[in-house]
Symmetry: C2
Subunit: 663 residues, 2 copies
């Protein structure tokens, strides 16, 4: 033996498994699903020579040490595919195993030789050996069966059920023999890939944000529940509910001068009345908060809390743990800044301080405190200004105990850090939707979000407005603009949200021209909203949310597909469920000012439609029905009446063929 000889048993594994998808960053990160969703997995699987291969997709829930196997199917060009369905919360793992299928290889060659009329007596003996070997690996009953086959084939020409040439190619035999393959030299894909399985609200839900203080606190919010439920929202998200600092408190319109009695920003957290685990006395008590959670549940609404890891200089933690904050060389505490801007009402935690481990534990315990009060959904403020490792650890620990938790990342940052936070465990994320307005911008961005590998780990939550963002598109174009952005958000995204009542009341005055801040923003002011105002969009919102609930196609993102129109102001897209039996076509006139019309092209075959048969488009917004024909159809939308169609495709249109006299 050569002294450099380093061959191991690996030398006998002939199958290569490569280019597995989905697989995020070489398997470092998990993909995401919700309970009941499918996980299709593809891979390049091939060996040397021309043997037939077999491959299985293996999967298991983390609680189950045993793998379940499901066969993979050959597609083309050495690509194979399998899929499984996730049925439980938590983590699943998946991997692939593949091997040379000796029996199938033998059978394939035998068929060719039979077709060529060759004498196959020696080949038959080889096949019998393979069958006997399979019997050795088989369960008792199947082993008997296989041995019976081996015996029958070894007898010779005249056998049960026809000539030996016909019998040996029997499908049952093939299936039986391949069920007990020799997997001694099977190749196991070197990685076990992970799926995080979350509940349906992680994928599909409508969010409503409101400031409790503008409604007199938690009890006032309770009074709003019927209205919010009527509009069809699933989640009611509240900005921070904690005591607000007094030092450097910001006044109206973010003024550094604060008049007496001004309430301050809820994001300047902590005062002598308490910190992140306390409730602002003006909102009510912890008991009131828990009552709100219970009442909301009756309306099938969940309460989401805002977690902002930052302090007012008055936060009790600043005195108790000065070591958790950065200090300036003059001994003063370092306030937040984005030079040259200073935010002296805010003091950031120093995630890199020497006592970082205790700080991180304390921060995690803030989530744990609110989870104990019954909160399962959190909107996390500015996660991209805290270390990635913190989130990976913190969300990982929390979700291991509570897989039903949902975390929405307010990650308004560059694309790479935004996606990184999703990879690290955030359930959903804010994104660039507020700044994607034209047809081209929307198509490009939502194709990236839904049709690339991004869709495996990043779930966008679409907000036309937030307390920080009065998008330009809303500022000048009145009620139609709000309707357009609402319908885009609710139909492009399975998850979306609005900040109300600013949104439904079409509040659209910026602090100054060019700004995305609201004039007299609710962030620094208690507002009184006139919900009876005539422009209120409540009815449209209620209709849209009902359509979303009634049509499963709108409850996913990966099924989004854009379709060409010949007018740049008309955007059109479908969402379909797996078998395309439920297909929703949304067409939006992006102009809030002008009537636009044009021709829309649909790939009828993909929806199982006949080029020559009339089909019906049922507009779920207006309840109007249109008969369409062929792949090109005319659409016209006038923003004075409606800016969009949300069509449900109705396949069957009655014709005279349906009457029995026609048959």
């Amino acid at each position: 033996m050569n002294e450099n000889f380093t061959l191991s048993e690996r030398g006998r594994r002939r199958v290569a498994i490569e280019n597995v998808a989905p697989e995020i960053d070489a398997g470092i990160f998990a993909i995401k699903r919700t309970v009941g969703e499918r996980v299709p997995v593809e891979a390049d699987i091939f060996a040397d020579s021309h043997d037939s291969l077999a491959a299985v997709l293996k999967f298991r829930h983390e609680k189950n040490p045993e793998w379940t196997e499901t066969p993979m199917e050959f597609l083309t060009n050495d690509r194979w595919r399998g899929e499984f369905v996730v049925t439980e919360l938590g983590n699943y793992f998946y991997t692939i195993e593949a091997w040379v299928d000796q029996f199938k290889s033998w059978r394939k060659d035998l068929q060719k030789k039979l077709d060529a009329g060759q004498n196959v007596s020696v080949e038959l003996q080889a096949g019998i050996k393979l069958i006997e070997a399979a019997a050795q690996r088989a369960t008792a009953r199947d082993a008997e069966n296989l041995l019976a086959w081996a015996k029958e084939l070894s007898v010779g020409e005249n056998v049960t059920g026809g000539s030996i040439e016909k019998r040996v190619m029997d499908e049952d035999l093939s299936e039986l023999a391949s069920r007990y393959p020799d997997r001694h030299f099977a190749t196991k894909y070197e990685k076990e890939l992970r799926v995080v399985v979350e509940r349906e609200l992680a994928r599909f839900g409508a969010w409503y944000e409101m400031f409790p203080r503008s409604f007199g606190g938690f009890k006032g919010v309770e009074e709003q529940l019927p209205r919010i439920a009527k509009m069809g929202f699933d989640i009611l998200y509240l900005p921070p509910v904690h005591p607000i600092g007094k030092s450097f408190r910001k006044g109206k319109n973010n003024s550094v001068k604060c008049a007496p009695g001004e309430p301050g920003s809820p994001w300047a957290i902590g005062s002598s009345e308490g910190g992140h685990k306390s409730i602002h006395p003006e909102l009510g008590t912890l008991g009131d908060f828990k009552n709100l959670i219970s009442r909301a549940k009756e309306f099938k609404i969940e309460i989401a809390l805002d977690i902002a890891f930052q302090c007012s200089p008055d936060h009790p933690g600043v005195k108790e743990h000065p070591e958790w904050f950065r200090h300036r060389p003059d001994g003063s505490i370092q306030y937040a800044e984005n030079p040259p801007k200073k935010y002296q009402d805010i003091v950031p935690f120093d995630f890199e301080c020497d006592d970082w481990k205790n700080l991180w534990l304390e921060l995690k315990s803030i989530f744990e405190f609110w989870i104990a009060q019954g909160v399962n959904i959190f909107r996390v403020d500015n996660p991209h200004t805290k270390p990635f490792a913190f989130w990976e650890w913190c969300l990982g620990e929390l979700k291991a105990k509570n897989p039903e938790l949902i975390f929405l990342a307010e990650a308004f940052t560059r694309p790479k850090p935004m996606y990184e936070l999703a990879k690290l465990g955030f359930t959903q994320s804010y994104n660039y939707f507020p700044w994607r307005n034209s047809k081209d911008e929307l198509e490009k961005y939502f194709t990236e979000l839904t049709q690339s590998s991004v869709a495996e780990f990043f779930r966008p939550n679409l907000w036309p407005n937030t307390p920080d963002i009065l998008a330009q598109s809303l500022q000048t174009d009145g009620r139609a603009a709000f309707a357009i952005r609402l319908i885009l958000a609710a139909t492009l995204g399975a998850s979306y949200g609005i900040y109300g009542p600013a949104f439904e009341l079409c509040e659209n005055t910026p602090r100054e021209p060019g700004s995305e801040e609201y004039l007299n923003s609710e962030k620094y002011k208690i507002k009184r909203w006139d919900l009876s105002a005539p422009q209120n969009l409540e009815n449209l919102i209620a209709r849209v949310n009902q359509i979303r609930r009634e049509n499963p196609a709108l409850q996913s993102n990966r099924n989004l597909k854009f379709h060409p129109t010949d007018n740049e102001q008309l955007i059109a897209y479908t969402k379909s469920n797996d078998d395309a039996s439920d297909t929703i076509l949304t067409v939006v006139n992006l102009s809030p000012h002008y009537r636009h019309s044009g021709w829309l092209t649909l790939p009828l075959a993909e929806f199982g439609l006949d080029q020559k048969k009339t089909f019906q488009m049922h507009d779920l917004l207006s309840d109007a029905r249109y008969l369409w024909n062929g792949e090109k159809n005319y659409v016209e939308l006038n923003p004075e009446k409606t800016s969009a169609h949300i069509f449900r495709l109705r396949r069957h249109v009655r014709t005279e063929h349906d009457f029995d006299y026609f048959a």
Copy 2:
């Protein structure tokens, strides 16, 4: 402390390094380079928040345990880039390290505060601390320098060389402080990626294949050396030179009946006269073979041998090691087959036999035997019918001892196994060039081969013909077709080869219509070639090879770029060296029958050309010169005269401005 607390020091590493390129299959496989080539490396590098980052590309030769570092530069969208040059044969490793640059972050914020006219006295103190900390890490001289800076800045307003605001932003200080960063919490990319560095012939070379027996053996081949050298070939590749079996020997045109005296196929290896380590007596002795190697060297030609791991039934190994072959249930040895075809003159090795380790060692020793005789280049027959693990091991072991070895894979198989063999260690590969004829086919295929990650590990060697492949494109269209395919091969590929003299003599009769086999193929027959025939393409071949040698742009593949023409029969592409000072534009009329003309569009700016200045195109084939102007220029090619231009771009065209009276 929480008992589940799993935080490690990793928690303090804030920088993420992802999406590194090149990186083949998560770093399992190496990329390829030749000595002197650059290795540009890119990665997504980002952290939370807005701090400035620094990143280095680290690389080392396998013999050197120490990393060399070169700074990476920020491109855009969190993408960074660095590069290094490989200068030695063997393996290099590369990886990335990145960290938060505290001094640069501080400096960036300071600049913004200064710009806003803020008081920065406290910030200055923080900066002095950073400078003092850098001094702690610096070499003696730089430490002194840094401490002098710290002292100067701590004195206050009036300092050497201007106001403190100006001094603190000094570029030298910045450079000096960033040279000694705190890398305690630097992120090291988790993988060390590999580059296999080979010699220039691995990337760039012209191959000539011929059957020695048609020239009377090795001595006859020696007589051909001046002619082959004059044509400009670098490598002379010989089909197997071993004794040929007699059992089931194939006759003329692959007939199963072999007339007495017919020589048989050189790929039916082994007889009573010896096996893979022996020479066919009719070709000469081992001494003659070694003489041929020496003589070839005088002509700067290297000899490449064909290694085909298969035997004639008469191979001595069949008797000595029956355990290395498969046996049929009737006890006979298993011949090669591709059902229903039988190749009874060939017996394959059983790479999976129980004694596989000894078999594999013996096969490796065949390479070692010929390496000992002075052969450094091997063309490997049908590697895709042997296990991938064999090649990974065998080529790995051989190249570890002889990094100058070159292996050309005759991997005519599906794309995935073809690429896999390249990943596993083959230097070059045959490919689908023989079957890519139309402009669209050529553009798509060569874009995949040269502009995707495939180019990092797969080096195509372009053969218009081989003894097995008389491509359809050559069969009907006469001499012009041969000229077209020659020029395409030699200019699209840095490595290419022809099987001669069949090629230069335009031999184009198939065995039967639709077949790619030659009629009276040299594989089964000794041929006598009439080199004085008028159609001999020697002169064109010599000219093309000279152009290749004189123009470095033609010696790479990754620099290939196609350019639009308005005629589907005219294909146009450039290759440029790194700074575009050497640019070759090839234009080929793909029709061997008809004159074609059209307008070609060139991206002038990419070649540093002015839209408004005339430039000269020098046709290196005809020596004609054309003045071109602007991005669109006219081209006309008549196959009766010439089927192609190989232009060298000559930038400067003299005008009256060049005369001093004009100034």
